[in-house]
Point group: C2
Chain length 339, copies 2
C-alpha cells in the first residue's frame, strides 16, 4: 500500500527542511532555482498533493459548504443541489450534504455536526418540523459563531440571513390568473398545511388573483392534503363534494394525483378540469396529459444560494446587511390547461 506522501517525506528524501519544500512547491522567490526544480520534480513524480485536513486546520477554513435539505428523493431539491454543486465546484468548494428527513432533531444534529469544523457555511431549506415548531435556535447559533447561512425555498422571517426564494405568491397568482383567463369559473386550490412557508405564500397568491378578478374566495375550494399520506381518498371526496373546473396544486404530486382522480371519474383533462402544479419535474413533463406547472428554477436557486454564500465567505468585511433574492418563477404551459 502506497501511503500518501507528505512534505516531511520529501524533505527527508531530498535532505532539505520542510519549510524549504513548502516554499519550493509554492514557487517562492526565497528558494533557488535549482532547489525548486529538484523539489518540484520530486513532488510531481510522487504525485504530491497537500493534505486538505492540515490546510483546513491551518487556514481555519475548510472550503466545504454544508447543505441541509429535508429530502433528497425529490426533484426540486435535487435540482437545487445540482445548482449548488455546479457553482461551488467551480469556485473550489466541496459540498457536504445532509438530509434532515423533515425532522427537527436530525436537522439540529446535522447542523451541529457540520458546524464543528466541517464546513465554512450553510445552505439549507427548513424541515417541515422546524417550520412547524418555529424553533430556530440552531440557526442562530451557527450565525453567532460567524458561519454564514443561506436559506432557500423554505425560509423564515425569524432569522436574519441571506435567502433565495422564488416569488411563490406571484407564481401562484399568475397561474390562477391563467386559469381565470381561460374561462374557468370554479378554481380550487390543493395545498398542504399552512406551516410550510411556501404553501401559505402560494395560497395568498391564489386568493389575491381570485379577488382581483372578482371571484369569490371560498375555503370550501381549498383542500389541505397531508404531505406524506399518499392516499387519494381526500381528493376523490373533494371532487365528489365540489364541482370545480380547475385546480391549482402547490406541488407536482398533488397535480399528478389530481389528474389521475379526474380521469378515473371519467372526466377529461383539460376539457372538464384544468390543472396546474408547482415544480417543473419529470412527473409534470411525462405525465399524460402532461402537467402545466410553475417552474421553480431549482438549479438557478442553488447556484444563486451558493454564490451568495461563497461571496460572503470570501468577502473581507463583515457585511451585516442580508439580502433576499427573489427569483422569478415561470409558468410552463402543457396539456393540462387549455392553451
Amino acid at each position: 500500500m502506497k501511503k500518501k506522501i507528505t512534505l516531511k517525506h520529501i524533505a527527508r528524501e531530498l535532505e532539505v527542511s520542510i519549510s524549504t519544500v513548502s516554499k519550493a512547491l509554492k514557487d517562492s522567490a526565497e528558494i533557488s532555482k535549482d532547489t525548486k526544480e529538484k523539489i518540484q520534480a520530486f513532488a510531481k513524480l510522487y504525485n504530491y498533493r497537500p493534505n486538505n485536513i492540515a490546510l483546513s486546520l491551518k487556514n481555519r477554513r475548510t472550503k466545504n459548504i454544508g447543505v441541509i435539505i429535508p429530502e433528497i428523493v425529490h426533484h426540486f431539491f435535487a435540482t437545487v443541489i445540482r445548482g449548488i454543486e455546479k457553482y461551488a465546484n467551480n469556485r473550489g468548494y466541496n459540498v457536504i450534504i445532509c438530509v434532515s428527513n423533515e425532522s427537527f432533531d436530525k436537522e439540529v444534529i446535522n447542523m451541529e455536526m457540520l458546524a464543528n469544523g466541517s464546513t465554512d457555511g450553510f445552505i439549507m431549506a427548513l424541515s417541515a418540523e422546524t417550520e412547524f415548531k418555529e424553533d430556530f435556535n440552531h440557526l442562530r447559533e451557527v450565525m453567532e459563531q460567524g458561519m454564514p447561512l443561506v436559506l432557500f425555498d423554505r425560509v423564515t422571517n425569524e432569522i436574519d440571513c441571506d435567502k433565495v426564494v422564488i416569488d411563490d405568491r406571484e407564481g401562484a397568482y399568475s397561474a390562477t390568473k391563467k386559469l381565470i383567463n381561460n374561462g374557468n369559473k370554479r378554481i380550487a386550490l390543493f395545498t398542504t398545511e399552512n406551516f410550510f412557508s411556501v404553501s401559505s405564500e402560494r395560497e395568498e397568491g391564489y386568493k389575491q388573483a381570485l379577488l382581483d378578478h372578482n371571484y369569490e374566495v371560498s375555503e370550501n375550494l381549498i383542500l389541505k392534503l397531508d404531505y406524506i399520506d399518499m392516499d387519494n381518498k381526500p381528493i376523490e371526496d373533494f371532487f365528489d363534494r365540489e364541482k370545480v373546473d380547475a385546480v391549482l396544486c402547490v406541488n407536482e404530486t398533488f397535480g399528478i394525483r389530481a389528474i389521475r382522480v379526474v380521469q378515473e371519474m371519467g372526466l377529461k383533462v383539460p376539457e372538464d378540469v384544468s390543472l396546474i402544479g408547482f415544480t417543473n419535474g419529470f412527473l409534470s413533463k411525462y405525465s399524460y396529459p402532461s402537467l402545466t406547472t410553475v417552474d421553480q428554477h431549482g438549479g438557478d436557486m442553488g447556484e444563486k444560494a451558493a454564490q451568495m454564500l461563497i461571496d460572503r465567505l470570501e468577502s473581507e468585511d463583515e457585511n451585516e446587511i442580508y439580502e433576499t433574492k427573489v427569483l422569478k418563477s415561470t409558468l410552463i404551459e402543457r396539456e393540462s390547461t387549455i392553451n
Copy 2:
C-alpha cells in the same frame, strides 16, 4: 460574534493545562473529581464541541465518506444516497457528495479532491464516460493509498473492490418471462448503448429469457436509444417499423416515453402493447397507466454499500478479499402489463 471555544480557552480561563482539560472532558481517571467537575461544567456552559478538523488530523480519519454519482436529479441515485446517508449517519459518518455529471474528468477531479484527506473511503457509480473509456486509474490510485472503495450499480470487473449490484440479468429475465407468460409474442427491448454495464446485463437477461422459451432473438427488436436525447422520434419510427406487443425498457424514462408514443398512435396499454421498465420511481408510479417496473431497491443498495465501506474502514485487519453483493430485484406489477 461568539467564536467557537477551544481547549486552550478553557485551559486559560480555568488556569489549568490543555492536557488536563482534554483528559477531564474524557473523564480520565488521572484527573481529580473536583477538577473534572469544574472543567466539565465550564465546557457544558460554553457548549464546547471538539473541532472535527483537528480530530481528523490527529486521528488520521475524517469520519466522512465520499460519494460520487453521475447525476443527482435522478430517482434511483437519489434513493441510493438516502440509503447511504441513513446508514452512515447512524454510524457517525458524514456523507460528502460529488456529482460527476457523467463526465470522466469531473469524476477524476472530484475523486482526487476528496482523496486528499477529505474522506476515509468512497462509494461510487461510474460515470457514462468512464464506462465508455474504460479508464480506471483513478480508482486504482485511491485503492493503492489504502482508501476503501465500494462500487454500486455501474461497476466494472477491471477493479477489484467491494461492489453492490442488483441482479440485472435476472431482473430482465423475469420481466421478459412475465411478458412471455402473459402471451406476448413479439417482445422488444429499449436499451442504451452497451457500454453501460447495467444495460448489457439486462440485454443478456432479456435474450436468455427469449431463448429459454423458444422465442427468436432479433436485433431488429432491440432499439438502442441515446441516454441524453429526449426526442421520441426514434421510438415512433420503431413502432412504425416493427409490430410488437410488448416492450422491456432498461429504465423508467424509456418506459414512460414508450407509453406516450403508444398512446399517441391510438393503441392501448396494456391491451395492445404491454410495457415494463426498470427503476421503481415516481414516474412509474404516477404515470397513466402506471408502469410495471423492476425495482432496483436503491435504498437497500445504498445502505449495503455504506455498511460494506464502514465495516472495512473499521476492521482491524486488512482483508484483501472483496465481496460483490447482489441484491434481488423485484418486479412491481402495475397497469402497463396484464395482471
